[in-house]
């Protein structure tokens, strides 16, 4: 279906990534946001607070991130599309509700504008060090979807995608920005509402007497009901059966947890979002994401000038990790170079997916700035030797 025109600010804008993310959420149909102030993400909800009364919806500033991250889940079950926005320390506090959202299959979006950590770290400076936390941060086994934009335009476009994927797979989606992308101002083109595709909520059409809240459809995703519509359904973070009722036994746990994982794992091909260039005959492929992919672009250029066939594989979707794609590339290239503003989180995933068919060189940065293109260039040259 098409976007609700009330939320779409069609036109050409010169805005930063945080503001573009907010516009993406509005265009995607988000009509509820709950937040708690934290640098460098606050601009997203500041804009939402200013915009939403004229679009039709609600923003509430909650008392902490625990509250913000579950208020959005309440809003979703009440019928809204909803999201919250945070950074490092707040993201840590939200982990329990990411797990609750995964367990209860509540479609929602968590935006994390990453800053340097651990702990309070570098509030105003960039990092990409929450990538593993986005995947594994809540306890127990579950699968997650995470996207990483590298420009304000993508902050807009991919926020819409994040909402659409959340609805399609009934899962929390992590929108993993970084301080640079969040605060970078560039041209952002917002299309007409009729050109924006929206994935509708998978509401059941069954009558209440036939509806089972956690009965999976063919793609393993169950249909939803909203509170107040006569379904009288139950939602719990406890292990539950298809009726949504708690069932404390290993068999129900096995069925539920494997399905939660499988509904996303089985869709890996449809959830592989990469931006590639020159990988077909590349000796070395640079795998990067977010702001680092833009620094890497310069390094790739420098290496190509030196005659090294260098490819680019930019990860737009981080989770589920595009294992099959990396494995295929590993058959051709000699090595992967993986720069990221952390001490080697996604590099390890690349290495694992490569399965020994290609070398992986991690180019680390502890945070607080971006790589020098020369550092990535040197790694490419080393890999080519």
């Amino acid at each position: 279906m098409q976007a609700d025109p009330r939320g779409v600010l069609t036109g050409v804008h010169f805005i930063d990534g945080d503001h573009a993310c907010c516009e993406g959420a509005l265009a995607a149909g988000a009509r509820f946001a709950a937040g708690y102030p934290i640098t460098p993400s606050t601009e997203v909800v500041e804009r939402f607070a200013a915009r939403i009364p004229t679009v039709g919806g609600t923003f509430i500033q909650m008392e902490d991130e625990l509250a913000a991250s579950i208020a959005i889940l309440g809003a979703v079950w009440g019928g809204a599309k909803a999201f919250t926005v945070t950074s490092g320390p707040g993201f840590s506090l939200m982990m329990e509700h990411i797990g609750f959202a995964a367990m209860t299959e509540t479609p929602c979006v968590f935006v994390n504008v990453q800053r340097g950590g651990p702990s309070t770290g570098l509030p105003t400076l960039p990092a990409q060090a929450d990538m593993m936390q986005a995947r594994w941060g809540s306890h127990g086994d579950y699968e997650i979807i995470a996207l990483s934009p590298n420009s304000p335009q993508e902050c807009f476009d991919l926020t819409i995608k994040a909402f659409n994927l959340a609805e399609q797979y009934r899962t929390p989606v992590m929108f993993m920005m970084d301080e640079c992308v969040g605060h970078m101002t560039e041209k952002v083109v917002i299309p007409r509402p009729e050109d924006i595709e929206i994935y509708p909520r998978r509401l059941t059409r069954k009558p209440p007497s036939e509806y089972k809240p956690y009965e999976p459809a063919e793609d393993l995703v169950p249909e939803m009901a909203h509170a107040g519509n006569g379904y009288r359904f139950h939602v719990t973070g406890l292990t539950h059966d298809e009726r949504g009722y708690p069932a404390m036994n290993a068999a129900t746990q096995d069925r539920l947890v494997r399905r939660l994982k499988e509904k996303i794992r089985a869709a890996e091909d449809r959830l592989t979002f990469v931006d590639e260039d020159g990988v077909e005959d590349a000796q070395v492929i640079v795998v990067s994401y977010g702001i680092t992919s833009r620094v890497a672009e310069r390094a790739i250029e420098m290496a190509r000038q030196k005659g090294v066939k260098t490819g680019r594989c930019r990860l737009i979707g981080i989770w589920p990790f595009p294992e099959k794609r990396i494995r295929a590339l590993a058959q051709r290239a000699r090595a992967f170079v993986v720069p990221e503003i952390n001490l080697g989180q996604i590099a390890r995933e690349v290495e694992r997916a490569a399965g020994g068919h290609a070398r992986t060189i991690s180019v680390t940065h502890a945070g607080g700035g971006v790589h020098r293109p020369e550092d990535i260039f040197e790694a490419i040259m080393e890999a080519a030797r």
């Binding site: 709950a34 909650m62 309440g74 809003a75 009440g78 359904f233 719990t236």
Partner: protein
């Protein structure tokens, strides 16, 4: 249990049965526990208040009282520990026509979730909070709660509790609640009436129910069983409607003041939001009832 069900006359049904998920009965609560009594009162309050049951949503946190949501045949949400109120906040704001009831325990609402309770009261969010106060953490085996009275024995205060306890009604009152009442599980009629009142009242409403945990609190403190506790509540309770909430502290074996202490009208969160935004934005303000997505 099946033997017990067999002797039940199928012609005779309890009037609260339509409100319960009978397929989930028997429940998990211990003999003598007060939670079931409060659920009985609540279902009767639903009948008395004549609310549209399709528009009532119940939200619980974690703990014995947190299991209430799962037994009521309503839209029900069993959330995370301490976070029933912020979940209810999102639910209510997205769908203001819902009558949202938070049903949980003292540890859930006042220890881990205490911050949310005072902020929801401050905002005068239109939700009803029913707090079953059994003075202890029961689900986890009888640990000290912020409500445990001085000298009471718990598993984590084996020599007696020495921390001062919260006065829940005073806290709700001072944070701005529109309605504050306290009853014990002995006062089933008064409790039902209070519950019925709050279902029809706008704003943040708080009902504290002093309730026995014979398995962990009463037994460990040599206070007898469920029946003994009813006698104790009868003997120690004193109805004082309108009593200053500062005078409602609970002690280990002292008086239990019960009654309705606060019933006032303040604009609720949504009224405040709507009036401010329409005043500031005029025609540009798009007021919505339910935020229903497609």
């Amino acid at each position: 249990m099946s033997a017990l069900l067999e002797v039940t006359n199928p012609e005779v049904t309890n009037p609260v049965e339509p409100f319960l998920r009978m397929e989930r009965i028997p429940h998990i609560w211990c003999p003598g526990c007060g939670i079931g009594t409060t659920v009985n009162c609540f279902t009767r309050a639903l009948i008395e208040s004549k609310v549209d049951l399709d528009r009532v949503a119940i939200v619980s946190g974690i703990g014995c009282s947190g299991r209430v949501a799962g037994y009521l045949r309503l839209d029900s949400f069993h959330t995370t520990h301490g976070r029933a109120i912020p979940f209810a906040t999102g639910l209510k704001l997205a769908n203001p026509s819902l009558n949202v009831v938070v049903y949980s325990g003292d540890g859930d609402l006042f220890a881990i979730g205490g911050n949310h309770l005072i902020h929801a009261a401050r905002r005068n969010l239109d939700i009803k909070v029913i707090c079953i106060n059994n003075l202890i953490y029961a689900m986890t085996g009888g640990q000290t709660a912020p409500t445990t009275p001085g000298e009471a024995i718990t598993t984590t205060a084996p020599y007696g509790c020495y921390e001062p306890a919260f006065n829940l009604c005073a806290l709700a009152d001072s944070a701005g609640a529109s309605y504050v009442a306290r009853w014990t599980t002995y006062h089933v009629r008064q409790l039902t009436k209070s519950m019925s009142e709050v279902m029809r009242k706008r704003g943040f409403c708080f009902i504290e129910i002093i309730s026995p945990c014979p398995t962990l609190y009463q037994r460990r403190n040599k206070m007898g069983d469920g029946l003994d506790t009813m006698k104790y509540y009868k003997q120690k309770s004193k109805v004082r409607h309108g009593a200053p909430t500062s005078e409602l502290a609970i002690t280990k074996d002292g008086e239990i003041v019960v009654g309705k202490f606060v019933d006032r009208d303040r604009p609720d969160y949504l009224e405040l939001m709507r009036s401010r935004l329409s005043e500031q934005l005029g025609d540009r303000y798009v007021e919505t009832e339910n935020l229903v997505c497609s």
